[in-house]
């Protein structure tokens, strides 16, 4: 299956009932897939008039208790930031896919990881967090959609799945779960008419009185620390005896895996940590690993964004470097390996 289709099928099997979106490369094939697939299973696909409309339609359907998603890329995701802040403020679950592309501005449709800050540090206004997941294979794209919808519902929070054009176009075999029947927990808070609950359900993020707004912020803060405690996920690769640890997610992590193998073959002890949850960032795992390795190299398709979180996690216990290509450029195995060798001969090897 192609990455774009895998996300679509993953969403269908995760019980997504509604998709609202707007065309943009490199995620348009996902919308084509769902335009065909969702009606087949009695669900709805709609092309909105813009990304601003899409995200607010998502808010509506989510407020009515449904599993709902949207997807976009760069400029479209930027347009959704207001809506995402409102969704977070109103504690509404939904899934947003961002097929990142080169930027800033219109940029290009080539793969990029430049939206890391936007996704993990806010993006919209106000104090809030998205849960951010970054798969690195087509199989994981399928599987992560189920996880994304589950997390969204469990924490009543928007979840973003980040990938890029390479993963969108990539073909890999996938195993699909036959389990179609998804058990979705009741949502007594939803605006579904008054049959299910007593009194009035209000879906809202407007608190005019600062004390009341602060109370909501306290609730959000507690929720975020709960998420931070429970949901950090990463994968380790060849960490045993590693002096240099590469940290990379998504497409960059596929390149780094090859770098680790090549470096090991040349006798350089390199390993990798691949964050799968970008928020919450796997700080605990990286912090512990920092006790036994010599240095970290954060390999990203941006000017250096995740490296800040790696540094915070490492907390001064070891040096943290960054290697990046940007604007739609993808690092090559050779270039990253060169960088590794430079670091190794510069001290990490002694």
């Amino acid at each position: 299956m192609k990455g774009n289709e895998a996300i679509g099928e993953g969403a269908v099997r995760a019980g997504c009932r509604y998709f609202f979106g707007y065309p943009i490369t490199p995620q348009s094939e996902l919308t084509h897939y769902l335009a065909k697939r969702l009606p087949e299973v009695g669900r709805l696909y709609m092309q909105a008039e813009s990304e601003v409309a899409s995200i607010n339609m998502v808010y509506g359907a989510s407020g009515a208790g449904a599993r709902v998603m949207t997807s976009s890329s760069g400029p479209g995701i930027s347009l959704m930031q207001e809506g995402l802040s409102y969704l977070a403020g109103a504690q509404l679950p939904c899934v947003v896919v961002n097929m990142m592309r080169g930027g800033p501005g219109l940029g290009n449709i080539a793969p990029s990881q430049a939206d890391y800050f936007q996704a993990t540090k806010g993006g919209g206004h106000g104090d809030y967090h998205l849960i951010v997941l970054a798969p690195n294979s087509v199989q994981e794209l399928v599987d992560i959609m189920k996880k994304a919808f589950d997390l969204a519902d469990r924490y009543r929070n928007p979840v973003m799945v980040m990938a890029d054009g390479i993963m969108a176009q990539m073909m890999e075999p996938v195993e699909l779960d036959d389990q179609y029947q998804i058990e979705i927990q009741p949502k007594p808070w939803a605006a579904t008419g008054k049959v299910d609950h007593e009194g009035k359900n209000l879906i809202n993020s407007c608190y005019v009185i600062p004390e009341e707004m602060e109370s909501l912020n306290f609730i959000l803060r507690d929720k975020y620390s709960e998420i931070n405690k429970n949901e950090q996920v990463c994968e380790e690769y060849q960490l045993d005896g590693a002096d240099i640890v590469l940290v990379a997610f998504g497409t960059a992590s596929r390149i780094c895996r090859a770098v680790v193998e090549k470096a090991r073959a040349q006798g350089i002890p390199v390993g990798m940590i691949r964050p799968i949850s970008l928020w919450p960032f796997p700080a605990d795992f990286i912090g512990t690993a920092a006790n036994r390795v010599k240095c970290f190299l954060s390999v990203e398709m941006n000017m250096g964004q995740m490296v800040e979180d790696v540094r915070l996690s490492v907390c001064g216990k070891a040096p943290v470097y960054h290697y990046g290509r940007f604007g739609g450029m993808v690092p090559t195995v050779r270039d990253v390996l060169e960088e590794v060798k430079k670091i190794y001969s510069g001290g990490a090897g002694q």
Partner: protein, 275 residues
């Protein structure tokens, strides 16, 4: 054409990126002819484009240009016009660009009657992103996002902008290229918000999927279904059904925004004085 092309087109940018049979090149050449007839001066003209295949036209024109965001070229153009009211501004947009994501900007710019010259390349589809439905895709047509056929009703761009306050509204097609040239010129000469809808063809992303033929057949479709505005006046609604009207559809006089703002400044200074 040679002299006009030399003056207004950036030869080094050619050949263009448009697919075989695409109508955008015809709209571009109608624009070049209109610029020539208007005696357009590169020192006092600015071209603003949105995002889409059609907006690429700006890239081939030898004017100062602004490439803007998808759908919002009119907001950028409004900024230029207010900063430099003496400039002649052309705004190039696709049908999705202008009526979907940009629909709000379109009606508000029309309401202000600001002196901008809009050319909407209406190919009835999202060309650049691969054949998704636009708000101009006819009902019952197939699109990559309408595999079960589109049931949404399309906009009537001309009716929409006229109702919103545009003071010059016209429509032509890439088949009726001479008329298109004439209307682009007349729109530019009109003071106020002018909209020229240029019906164009996208054989690759619209025609093929809907078995409408190639570039030639789609041009013939335009020829056969366009009704000149003078003739339409003599026809019954039944006779016009399924066809579309071309020509000058609306022209009226109304105060123009930058003029009104000039008057506002005079008034403020008269009443509340100086620096």
């Amino acid at each position: 054409m040679q002299g006009k092309a030399d003056k207004y087109l950036l030869k080094e940018r050619l050949p263009h990126i448009w697919c075989p049979g695409c109508g955008n090149g015809i709209v571009l050449s109608a624009m070049v002819r209109a610029f020539d007839k208007l005696g357009c001066d590169q020192d006092s003209t600015v071209i603003v484009s949105g995002i889409g295949c059609s907006s690429r036209a700006a890239g081939y024109l030898d004017f100062n240009t602004l490439h803007t965001t998808h759908g919002r070229a009119l907001a950028f153009a409004t900024g230029i016009k207010l900063a430099r009211p003496e400039l002649m501004i052309f705004v190039l947009m696709g049908d999705g660009d202008s009526t979907a994501i940009g629909g709000n900007h379109l009606i508000h710019a029309a309401r202000r009657n600001i002196d901008l010259n809009i050319i909407i390349f209406n190919n009835h589809i999202y060309g650049m992103t691969g054949g998704q439905c636009s708000p101009m895709t006819p009902q019952e047509h197939l699109a990559t996002t309408a595999p079960y056929r589109n049931f949404d009703r399309p906009f009537d761009i001309a009716g929409l902008v006229q109702a919103a306050g545009a003071t010059y509204v016209a429509r032509s097609t890439t088949y009726h290229a001479a008329l298109l040239t004439k209307l682009i010129k007349a729109g530019a000469e009109h003071k106020g918000f002018s909209v020229i809808e240029a019906i164009s063809a996208c054989p690759v992303s619209h025609g093929r999927r809907n078995k409408l033929g190639g570039g030639y057949e789609m041009l013939m479709w335009q020829k056969e279904n366009a009704v000149p505005v003078e003739k339409a006046r003599t026809m019954t609604p039944e006779e016009i059904k399924g066809k579309f009207i071309i020509g000058e559809l609306h022209k009226s006089e109304a105060p123009e925004f930058t003029d009104m703002y000039g008057q506002l400044i005079e008034k403020a200074q008269r009443e509340h004085g100086g620096e």
